[in-house]
């Protein structure tokens, strides 16, 4: 049996609000492995923070079970759970010094003061913030407070560390650095991290696995690559990165996981079917990432070792181009009504310069880059 640190079994959480009740978490089940960096990703109000608070013990589930290290958490208050939280606004005790903040949790366990002091010093070093122990939290910058919050939680050596948008209040540059540091720290200490964020890039760069949530439902759980490359629902495809959605009708399902889709201009393309696609053929959406689309004026250019039968190529009109630094964004029109966005890296500027607005071009992509979703 695999060792899971956290298991959520069919969790439901309803909140009373003005006579009615609102479902914040809707039948969520997931298993999080020991030592995993697990991200809960979704827009605000999707239930990700509530899920975290249920694990922490600040809220009780309306239905379902939570297991931490195989132990059921029913009736176990937050202060007896083997988890610690890094709060969004850090929640450092303003009346205590940094050192006292970190020692707080140890003293609750009955750790002797001298020992606690030593551990506090070590954990401050671990978050690379030595020598600030005597200061009050308000004397530190936001980034430093963030590290103190981290040290305060990690010094308890929890089974699971819960992080509620811990980098949300930091500026962009600091956030990037902290992403890298947090990931390295997690690898070093080997503690399971459950990380709530609404920032898809943060989730993709840091997490081992991501759970995408919307309206209380866990839509898809997978590695960043699986989530990005093979979104199983329209929402996931839309929420993570930029995606082209092309409306069409599924006319044939192949046994190889691919199907034929007729687009609005009448052309038929071969595309990969998502696992969650409904049973009956009908209206579907084909999702494809802008960076997966190639543009060429010379059809020959794409013969690069790939089997041509696994490549889709369509006639298109170049409508617009937009320089965005590393890439150029091209807007293309297929037929009368299909608009596509393609992103090409600016490695060969001369090639891009050759593309003129209003020009007829060929767009092409590998069939494996597509996903057919329910509309």
């Amino acid at each position: 049996m695999p060792s899971y640190d956290v298991e959520l079994k069919d969790i439901v959480k309803d909140f009373e609000s003005g006579g009615g009740s609102v479902r914040a978490v809707d039948h969520v089940s997931v298993e999080i492995a020991d030592g995993e960096f697990f991200a809960l990703l979704g827009p605000s109000g999707c239930g990700k923070t509530t899920t975290l608070r249920l694990i922490a013990g600040f809220e009780q589930p309306t239905a379902g079970h939570i297991l931490i290290r195989g132990r059921a958490m029913e009736g176990i208050p937050a202060y007896h759970r083997p988890v610690n939280t890094v709060f969004q606004d850090y929640a450092l005790f303003p009346h205590l010094t940094v050192e006292q903040n970190i020692m707080f949790g140890l003293q609750m366990e009955g750790v002797h003061k001298r020992e606690a002091l030593k551990l506090a010093g070590e954990s401050l070093e671990m978050v690379r913030l030595p020598g600030v122990g005597e200061r009050k939290p308000h004397q530190l910058s936001g980034g430093q407070q963030q590290r103190v919050a981290l040290a305060r939680a990690l010094v308890k050596q929890p089974a699971v560390l819960l992080l509620d948008e811990p980098l949300g209040a930091l500026d962009l540059k600091l956030r990037k650095n902290m992403q890298y540091e947090l990931k390295a720290l997690q690898r070093d200490v080997g503690i399971t991290f459950i990380y709530v964020t609404h920032d898809q890039e943060e989730a993709i760069t840091m997490a081992d696995r991501i759970a995408v949530m919307n309206e209380g439902v866990m839509l898809q759980v997978g590695t960043p690559k699986e989530i990005y490359e093979h979104p199983q629902t329209h929402f996931v495809a839309d929420f993570i990165g930029e995606t082209n959605f092309i409306a069409g009708a599924l006319i044939e399902r192949g046994a190889d996981g691919y199907g034929s889709v007729r687009l609005q201009d009448g052309s038929v393309i071969r595309a990969q079917l998502s696992e969650t696609l409904g049973g009956s053929a009908g209206a579907v959406t084909v999702a494809i990432r802008p960076e997966r689309i190639g543009i060429s004026t010379i059809p020959k250019a794409l013969e690069g070792g790939t089997n041509p039968s696994e490549i889709t190529m369509l006639e298109a009109l170049l409508v617009d181009s937009q320089y965005i630094g590393t890439d150029t964004r091209f807007t293309l029109r297929i037929g009368e009504s299909i608009e596509l966005v393609a992103r090409l890296q600016n490695v060969n500027e001369r090639e891009h310069a050759a593309l003129r607005i209003g020009q007829k071009v060929k767009v092409f992509w590998q069939d494996s880059s597509t996903t057919v979703l329910d509309r």
Binding site: A78, T85, F104, M108, H138, K156
Partner: protein
């Protein structure tokens, strides 16, 4: 009028209105402070007046202050330093006990209001302001009647007659002080980040430890501020004390009122000035405590 043209007449009218407005804004506080402070200033001024009459200020003296401490007063006065000091002691006793009780109860109410979830919370919230808004005389009479009813019941059941005294004054003071303490403490609690309590919980502190190690230290300035306010109100209270006092339990304001029955002497001015200074200091400390930044406690 065509678009784009400026309406000169309206502009002129607006200018006049604006000028009147700013003059009003300037005059308003001048009048307000004048009416607030003029009587008090006169009282303080005449407590240092050489002449016994308030008709004119004839020269500076401290003799009224020394008189009240040395038992020297006019023959027509019922004044005695000993009685005054006794009244002052009564005031301190009543104030201290009432403050202690109302601070504990008021803080508990504030906690329940800020953190608790229970039926009738909004009703309690409204009722909390009642002692602040209802006329003092109404509260005084209702308390007097209440104590009489209670004493009648006690007499009926135990056969023993109770009389008003310190216990009734203190109970009465607690009833109005609770509101003030609760309101001030609750304001402090509202400023406090509730996640701090969750953080303490998360770090292994049970609710009891969380209260004493996190919540209480953080709301302490509010609690002290509320307590000082309560103590000041207790010291200054006349109406409610007058209606609930028994024999020999006169507080300082009640004693001063007794002096006034005869005539307003400069000594009364001196006592009033001392009381006012004392109250001002206490309220000043209370406000300073309230103003302390919650995040830097």
């Amino acid at each position: 009028m065509r678009q784009g043209l400026i309406n000169e007449g309206a502009m002129g009218r607006n200018r006049v209105i604006r000028r009147l407005g700013s003059a009003g804004l300037w005059l308003n506080p001048v009048f307000a402070y004048f009416f607030l402070w003029a009587p008090i200033l006169i009282l303080v001024l005449f407590s240092f007046n050489e002449s016994r009459s308030v008709a004119s200020f004839t020269g500076f003296t401290l003799k009224w202050y020394s008189n009240i401490l040395n038992n020297v007063m006019g023959a027509e006065s019922a004044f005695s330093t000993e009685i005054m000091l006794n009244a002052f002691r009564n005031s301190l006793f009543v104030g201290t006990v009432a403050t202690a009780i109302s601070t504990v109860l008021g803080t508990m109410i504030a906690l329940a209001m800020a953190r608790g979830r229970f039926r009738g919370k909004r009703l309690l919230d409204g009722l909390l302001f009642l002692p602040v808004v209802i006329p003092e005389i109404t509260q005084a009479i209702s308390l007097a009647i209440f104590f009489k009813v209670v004493f009648d019941w006690v007499a009926l059941i135990s056969g023993e007659r109770m009389f008003p005294g310190f216990h009734t004054i203190i109970a009465a003071h607690v009833t109005f002080n609770i509101s003030y303490v609760a309101i001030v403490a609750r304001a402090r609690l509202a400023d406090m980040n509730p996640q701090l309590e969750e953080a303490a919980n998360d770090l292994g502190a049970n609710p009891w430890q969380t209260f004493w190690r996190v919540t209480f230290p953080l709301i302490l300035p509010g609690v002290i501020s509320g307590a000082l306010l309560a103590f000041t109100l207790s010291l200054d209270d006349f109406v409610i004390t007058f209606f609930t006092a028994g024999v020999g339990t006169s507080t300082l304001p009640v004693f001063v009122y007794g002096l006034l029955k005869l005539t307003v002497t400069p000594e009364v001015n001196a006592i009033s000035t001392i009381m006012m200074v004392l109250s001002t200091i206490l309220i000043g400390i209370s406000l300073a405590m309230q103003g302390r930044n919650a995040s830097r406690a």
